[in-house]
Symmetry: D2
Subunit: 295 residues, 4 copies
């Protein structure tokens, strides 16, 4: 029965490719689109149909999933010429996995509703390795009935699903808050390492203690990268981290909540980018904190 | 042989009592002092000798351990009348477990050196349950030879020992940075919960995701307390949290490092205390963040 | 010769009305538009022609001035149906006095260029009393030749003109920075008063000293309002102050500069609005600072 | 009658020398002390008696004024060997002009009271030129009767006197808040200039507008120094500015008030000092802000 669900998957970047492949391997019928068609070829060899436009990919879809880099790309693929929105059948669902603004999520919800389509925001947490291993954390929000229809898809890509609420944008709010929590760990390490280095204490020593105290892979991973100064090649570039913290701050503007730590992180990342670290990993803010401490 | 080491233990608060008991149970000969003698009685029943002054406790000690509430209490017990410093034999070691300032640690090191005594700062990480279960993280700093002599004591109270450096105050720098890392989690949750509540998302939903993402007991514990508003009775009072973040800021002043997130946390805690939450748990800064968001 | 210049003036709010009237009294031929036509009547009695749409007002204009509340209003009046842009003759100039975003200024420059029209951003500094007395500070930016053509207009509304640069949006950058400087005085007073009140010192005493030290009417004016708690009716509402600080932060995003004090002011204003002070004067952030200090 | 008042003046730095000379020229009988005796010689030529210790200077004094660099120097001169406190006659007054902590002011008040002496904190606002021209702003606090007795002295050094309150430390609270207000202008210019330079706008252009807007010599003076990058020789060194903002933060700790802008300024100054600008003028924080923006 699952196999009878037609899925369109638009956006085959590092994450999107792995998620699409898991859907395919779970038995869904897949039509894929990517601006650079080369990335789609390996999926074709596993049975996906390659479409030459978003519209073509979506024409017979029950569900169209998007995993695009940002608001602009999403807007263009969904609402642009030959886009998803005008091609998706009435009654079908658009499920946006991308990290987009709460504002755009609300706009998409409205645009799809006008067309008699459903819309869900379904951001995910996890790095590419998690995507590959079907270990993503999946956070859908939107009308409960639509979420229920898409559950088999969530199960095919993730290890756990948490419903954020009945309005799609709420999932995006959760996503930006989650990213903030991670960024906050990065910034905390950055600042503590700077203080400790000025006190003659090795970051690694501190990291060992923090690992013992927190017991978290997030701390172990980023704490080590920052302690060793492993910032290139970037797992997640600082420019992207900056983009994400701006999405967070934009959400806070909308709901009227002060967010002082997000402000600190934002200022730090802006400095990093302004000083030429945009393409380094986002945990390279540790370099910025060190520099500001005169190291 | 261990049993032949004489230990003085000064300060039998919640943590000190449990640590002293573990030393006793590990076979060390213990002389204890506490301002309120009642707290010492249970230890006497297990074989400790109760002293009526710090000086009396320390007179025959090989090692004198202190676990006192703050700088003032430590100064008085160590350097005051009938104090530790003037009674401890030459060649013996003072091992300060308390969370004290790096400045006081440097002063204690000098005072003991003048008297031909050794000094180690040996702060610990862990809550009372960890102290009870010999599961503390022990962070000594000071002359390596002294640290070696005290290792059996560290093993008797903790699950892991991390040497911070050759100067005692470095351990205190590590301790205040570690506390900062925890406080930073509290503040991050406080702010994210406020944003999410204004977005109509339940803190518990977010907490579940964060637990899935971070997999850390620190997140699980404080995240739940903050989500449920369980702030009384305090596990660790906000006034104490504020004291600790001030120690951190004082250390940063000494080493000349900016510390913007510690500044944010400090401002938050000052507000909490100023608005009457001093006796609540320190994770009650979540209430402050909520209030500032108009909740 | 001046009188032979046809001016369209769109937006007759408190500031716009007074500016338009000064243009009229300086001898310019004026066609005015305001959504609420009543506000235009007094100008009609002094010789202005009342237009029933932005387009009608601009049809024969040499220069079209706009003084609208924000980006949205400006976009609609300029680019909406029956808007300024499609009606203004080729070769004529649109001069936007409103406090708008640098992003919108760039977009307007492009839109007008496409239509063969000129565009200047010409924000002003000063309260209504200054507008009434032709005492505004006028800050034009854009192509120098256009600025030269408009100088007689600047002279008719202000006491001094400062050219910000050859690109229109630069004037908007200057404007948001100037507003930031004023907001920064408000926030400084707010925080210092809170500290001093907790120290038992009267804000007024401090204000007298600051007046003696700074000798600035801005300090005298806002310092007194904040000291006396005179927040209603608002001279400039907190919601508007918040809007302005957001424009500032948006500009900083564009040019990639950290702006920590603007972040602090933003957080403060968000709190004020979230706690119900949106309609009070923006210097009511002093109330927020006092509250956060437990007063 | 004034001439019959014996004044001791301790501390003949740049400010102290000029203040002492004005007292002398106003007809007071003066006994002066300075660590470096050379600085006292010009005063001797105008009739002052040079003492070889604080004690000697104070032995017959009705009022002993101190103008010393910081808490440590003040403590030593007042409470050290051959110090002011043990020599000053009962009933005489110690008047401390130095910028010291509120904590030390409270301690001095207690120490003098114990000795039957009076104590006033009498910080002043103004640069050396103002001191020379008797144009200081004088801010005494302490018992009203003592203030009245000292009024002729205030009049001899300043242009205006503002009584801060009945407790001496309140004047120090006012002084640190006043310094904060100035530092806040420096930081605001630093940040706005950085944003504007990245927007291609000349700081001087902005300064002209701010001068037109604020009309304050403080803005004109520091705004110009920062715009021109005139940071050496320092009028007031960044290390001293940092010391002062720390005094401010210490006062805020005592009275339990959050102070976010002072935190931002503190972090900025720490960075400046850590990056080697300690001996530059404190308005060189503009260089730090520029650097952090990638300039």
């Amino acid at each position: 029965m699952l196999a009878s669900m037609n899925i369109a998957f638009l956006g085959l970047g590092r994450m999107g490719f792995l998620m699409a492949r898991n859907l395919l391997r779970a038995g869904f019928s897949l039509s894929v689109f990517n601006r650079n068609r080369d990335k789609a070829e390996p999926l074709a060899r596993e049975g996906a149909r390659i479409a030459s436009s978003p519209a073509e990919a979506c024409r017979d879809a029950d569900v169209a999933a998007t995993m695009l880099s940002d608001d602009d790309a999403t807007e263009q693929i969904v609402l642009g010429a030959d886009g998803l929105a005008d091609a998706l059948p009435r009654g079908a669902i658009h499920m946006a996995h991308s990290t987009i603004s709460t504002a755009l999520a609300r706009r998409l919800a409205a645009e799809h509703q006008r067309r008699g389509q459903g819309y869900l925001s379904v951001p995910v947490f996890g790095r590419p390795e998690a995507a590959e291993a079907k270990r993503l954390i999946v956070v859908p929000a939107g009308p409960p009935a639509l979420i229920d229809r898409c559950r088999p898809l969530f199960d095919a890509i993730g290890r756990a699903t948490f419903v954020a609420g009945p309005e799609a944008w709420q999932a995006n709010a959760v996503k930006v808050c989650g990213n903030f929590m991670i960024a906050s760990v990065l910034e905390s390490f950055a600042e503590a390492y700077a203080v400790l280095r000025k006190a003659g204490v090795e970051p690694h020593l501190f990291l060992d203690i923090m690992n013992s105290l927190f017991g978290s892979p997030v701390y172990a991973n980023y704490g080590a990268m920052a302690a060793e100064g492993r910032f290139e090649p970037a797992g997640f570039a600082l420019t992207l981290g900056l983009k994400d913290i701006r999405l967070a701050l934009d959400t806070a503007r909308e709901v009227a909540a002060p967010w002082p730590m997000a402000d600190v992180i934002h200022a730090r990342m802006v400095q990093g980018v302004a000083q030429g670290q945009g393409e380094m990993d986002w945990c390279s803010i540790a370099k910025v904190a060190a520099r500001n401490a005169g190291l």
